[in-house]
Amino acid sequence: MSRLQDSSGSGPDQAGRLDHLLEDDPADLYENAPMGYLSALPDGRIVKVNRTLCDWIGRPVGEVLGERFQELLSMGGRVYYETHLVPLLRMQGAVREIALDLVRADGTALACLANAVEIRDDDGAPLLMRATLFEATERRRYERGMLAAQRKAEESERRSLTLQMVVQDLAAALSVGDVASVIVERSREAMHARGAALVLVQADPHDPDAAPALRPVRADGMPENLLQELRDAAGSQLAVELARGVRSIVLDDRLRTVQPGLSAAMAAGCLSELVVAPVSADGRRLGVLVLALGTGPDDLIELDRPGGTETLATADVNLLWTIGRQAGQALERARLHEQAARQAERASFLLEAARLLAEAADVADTVDRLAGLVVGRLADLCVVDLDSDEGLVRPAVRHRDPERAHLADELRAHHLPRRSTAHPSVRALQSGGTQWVRAVDDAFLRSVAVDEAHLEVMRALELAAVVAVPFAAEGRQLGVLTIAADARRGPFTVADVEVAEQLALQLGLVVARAQRFDLAVRTSHALQDNLLPPAPPSLEGLAIAVRYLPATHGIDVGGDFYDVVQLPGAEVGLAVGDVVGHDITAAATMGQLRSVYRALLADGPAPGVIVDRLQTGWPLLSLRRMATALFASFDPASGRLRFASAGHPPPVLLEGGRARYLPVRPSRMLGAPPSQPDEWDGVLPRGASLVLFTDGLVESRSADIDEGLSRLLAATSSAGTSDPDALCDHLLSELTGAHRADDIALLVLTRR
């Protein structure tokens, strides 16, 4: 053994004492070393231990020898010894700095750090464990302090990180749903909460006096009835509760007594505490963030420890308060954003509806288009009822889901009108106001159903909400627009109902217009059947073709007419005429004019006489429109032809491939003051053709009448036929386009 040479210059006595100490026997060094030392067999039985260790624990060496190492330890230490120290020694041969508590004779604990090595035989089997123990009371305290500081630092970092993430995520959150996701997920994670929910306060716009409703926007991991219990617990004090700042509700005996319902819900979810943080923006309480803390459903044995319930740290309170403020701001932003988006969407929807309605041609078409549009954008089901003499009829039923279209058809086919006073459509019509069934239940369906089949169809449709809006125009109720949402879509919002009302307003105007139009069309069809002349009679020596084309815009019959009739004797009477206008009045006037003309034919008057009688008798006829007309009488045997015109364009004569106007001098129009009519008297050669027409054939919006007359001559000349039918077709195809502003009557006659 080498030792340090003394060079301190100290005296010989001191040097001698140091020598003595350093050469002390190893046994003393072992026994009195400034650390505990023990050797133990692999099963822990102590075979050697130094005095230092025995002194520390206050027990004699003889008592300690033969005991097992683990028996010197606290209970926690024993478990740690078995589960960590022994396995580590076996596997890596040594352990360092294991914290263990020795139990002194008086039962107090002595904090130690142990190092140990395993002595093995040649086969690697354990022979002995040698362990040194250092007292570590101060060090343990220091370590605990460090650990606490480290945990605190980690917590602090976690909180600031949470807040950072919340702010960052909220910046990207556009909808209320997005905001709710961010807040719920982040706060739940940060607080290690079992569950979290964002609950917004919602006042009922239709009943401002009602207690505000709580609407959970997002809830993760919350027991089902907990939020409702919380709402009930707050009761009428909700507003006060909301203003109270971050609150902790601990499940304890007091709460069990005062709030048994809430306590039961918490206990069922294995929750120990609820933390409620206000969500506000600019001083307005928007709702609350609820965090549910607890171990959750487990079957662990309860460990009663004093102060076992962890109370909310001040830093966490501050964190939640800040998150609540951030959430409030983000919610306001998201609401504005959603509002703007919804308004834009509504505007575009109504615009599209207006455009679509403007294009619609008749009532059936109009409501059908509208229903189609509605189920695309606003609802799942749309029914448009029109009020009629038979009560409500259902011209349009549409469903958004093609798989449920058959249900819509059944609704339409099997459940036609009943004056069921409970039905929202009927009620809407009777009251003249919107009917909004917010939540459809089976009792409602039963009250509305007309029979079992109807009930089944409505059940299958899974109706969740119904809105029926009446529509009217010119003070007349026209029908009801009914929209319905099914269970998959959820309830309607106030905005949805407003859109439906706007739509009903438009629909009323359009339906009123379309109904008028429809009426006119139906009337004109009936008139047409009665007023238009029958096919011309088949006459000896003549070939005749006639065409009648109403103006393309409007009704099918106008004020033009033609007439071919066998007069008493051998002559044939011909007429074309044009009552001013091309509407129902014109058609009616034309009908009357034709009847009067026929009546005049009884004694076979000459054309000039007909014009004269009509002009002089016009005031007696009370006809409301003026008219032009061209009358002729023709003798097929001799070919004698006489014309008289009341303000009407002259006829065309086609002879030998050349066309010309016959110089029939027109007198005044019928309805104008009478004037002396001229009569043209001539002969129609065999093989020649006559073309009688109304000005619809020669007028157009883009060209004047003279040009039209010239084009008619040219077209007639170039026809290359004298067959009346072929000539008619040729003229029409040459002179008319797809759109006619006026009616056309055309009569072609060829003498064989």
Binding site: G76, T83, R96, A111, R144
Partner: protein, 246 residues
């Protein structure tokens, strides 16, 4: 054969026993989530708040590997995890070996588990004091030799190192579970291996487990302590071998 480590270290615990069975068995070793080299990010405090969470993992491993007729060898808490796995998927297992099992550590009326509630609280404190994960970081600093990583590596009791929060949670779930009622559901041949002088799972607990599992075999080892597969691997392996069908 599937070997499941208990509370404390990881699958390395089986290194002295596994060679005995490698010749005639397919061996499956794994670390419970939260231990050893498992993916700590997969640790879910809710799932692992019950031993059933761990049992679900066992079943998942068996199904993923398409195992049948598995002899499940579980040490300590894993013996109980085996019982729960068997409950969840009886078709997978053919036998159960329970080393140092305890269905409930905390005394309860006449039932002796060996621990009081105060003992468990002390254990959780001991775990905090032995912040092995923390020591792993701090050891070089304390030694004053941060530039000698090999020294640090030697110091950091590597096999038992894990996240301290997870260790603490696992300890809670392990020592505060009560699975006595589940024992009777075991329907496969079962071996209860009981050590001598085991403070964690005393013999009275082992006998209780044996009595509750119908038709189970009880073998008492001369090995002492709680880890016979480490302290007496030959004896442990022989006892398991004797239990296995020829």
């Amino acid at each position: 054969m599937m070997f499941a480590h208990g509370f404390g270290c990881d699958q390395e615990m089986w290194r002295y026993v596994v060679p005995e069975f490698e010749g005639d068995h397919r061996i499956v070793l794994f670390d419970h989530v939260g231990s050893g080299n498992s993916d700590l990010s997969a640790y879910d405090r809710v799932k692992y708040n019950s031993l059933r969470g761990y049992a679900a993992d066992v079943v998942e491993i068996c199904r993923e590997l398409g195992l049948t007729d598995v002899v499940f060898v579980g040490h300590s808490v894993s013996a109980i995890i085996g019982v729960l796995a068997l409950q969840a998927a009886p078709e997978v297992f053919g036998g159960l070996v329970m080393i140092g099992p305890s269905p409930r550590y905390v005394d309860d009326g006449d039932y002796v588990g060996g621990f009081s509630r105060t003992d468990i609280a002390g254990l959780l404190d001991a775990l905090d004091a032995n912040h092995l994960g923390w020591s792993a970081q701090m050891a070089p600093v304390i030694m004053g030799t941060p530039n000698q990583p090999e020294l640090a590596a030697e110091l950091t009791n590597s096999f038992c190192r894990t996240d301290p929060d997870i260790t603490r949670h696992f300890a809670r779930v392990t020592f505060l579970s009560d699975n006595r009622a589940d024992l009777a559901t075991v329907g496969v041949p079962t071996l209860v291996l009981q050590c001598s002088e085991d403070v964690i799972a005393p013999e009275v607990v082992g006998r209780y487990v044996h009595e509750q599992i119908p038709g189970s075999v009880f073998t008492k080892l001369t090995a002492t302590g709680h880890c016979p597969h480490l302290s007496a691997p030959e004896e442990t392996a022989a006892a398991i071998r004797a239990f296995l069908p020829e």
